[in-house]
């Protein structure tokens, strides 16, 4: 058994470093799927996203989701990193990495992790607009709930 790695941090992360750490010194992994979520500039109207989170619960909830993924699929590694604070367009927000012997488990686990991160991890995004004004809180999308419901 392995323990999923969950990190909530203000700093940026490196996909390559995480993959290297996940696969160092082993040759049983046949498939690694990564998801990287980036801040879009919304056609130039966005200056930054401010990510508020619930410290303590964010780690706990993502760990619960990761453990659920590890119990559903025959994974050999699982990483979830989510940033908080101010993130600028083009910067990374979230990373999910899933490793397994065969590709199906890694694809499905990464997809599942993202659907659950979107709907269950206690993070809230607010827009800072390019014109200097503070935008509103990003509204949750019904399609994200629908996506999460696929796994029930």
């Amino acid at each position: 058994m392995f323990s999923p790695l969950v990190r909530i941090q203000r700093e940026d992360f490196s996909l390559q470093d995480e993959i290297d750490a996940l696969s160092a010194g082993r040759a049983d992994i046949g498939a690694v799927v990564s998801f990287t979520g980036l801040c879009r500039d919304e056609a130039g109207t966005l200056a930054a996203l401010e990510l508020e989170h619930y410290p303590g619960m964010a780690e706990a909830e993502i760990a619960r989701v990761a453990n659920e993924a590890a119990s559903r699929w025959p994974l050999l590694g699982l990483v979830a990193i989510h940033r908080y604070g101010l993130v600028k367009p083009g910067e990374q927000i979230v990373l999910v990495l899933a490793a397994s012997a065969h590709r199906r488990a890694a694809f499905e686990a990464a997809d599942f992790m993202m659907d659950y991160l979107k709907t269950r991890a206690p993070f809230w995004k607010r827009e800072h607009r390019a014109d200097g004004t503070l935008g509103g809180w990003v509204e949750a999308k019904g399609e994200d709930d629908d996506a999460a419901r696929r796994w029930e």
């Binding site: 979520g37 990510l51 508020e52 989170h53 619930y54 303590g56 619960m57 706990a60 909830e61 989510h82 927000i93 979230v94 993202m114 991160l117 979107k118 709907t119 269950r120 991890a121 206690p122 993070f123 809230w124 995004k125 607010r126 809180w137 990003v138 509204e139 949750a140 994200d144």
Partner: protein
């Protein structure tokens, strides 16, 4: 036994209540420790009690079906029992990821 229960029901207990995003902005503070009546059974009971405290709460919880809650870092539905929870959180639907 009855006497003890009645006494407890009439009392209060301190809980830490935390607010996030626009719930936090409408309530006007990120967290507070309140002495809540021990006869509040569910999260919905607590929300009704909070709404009676002032306009900020009234606005924050105007649509009770939108605001989400967590008991000691675990998501909970409005009908969930408060039990012995020490930290209760209220926040809008999540938009992370």
């Amino acid at each position: 036994m009855n006497t003890v229960t009645a006494t407890a029901a009439a009392g209060t207990r301190p809980v830490r209540i935390v607010y996030f995003a626009w719930v936090r902005e409408r309530v006007g503070l990120p967290e507070e420790t309140l002495d809540i009546p021990t006869d509040l059974t569910t999260i919905a009971d607590l929300v009704r009690w909070l709404k009676a405290r002032g306009e900020g709460y009234e606005t924050a919880f105007a649509d009770e079906t939108v605001v989400r809650a967590a008991l000691d870092h675990v998501h909970a539905k409005p009908q969930a029992r408060l039990g012995a929870a020490r930290e209760i959180a209220f926040f809008p639907p999540m938009t992370g990821g």
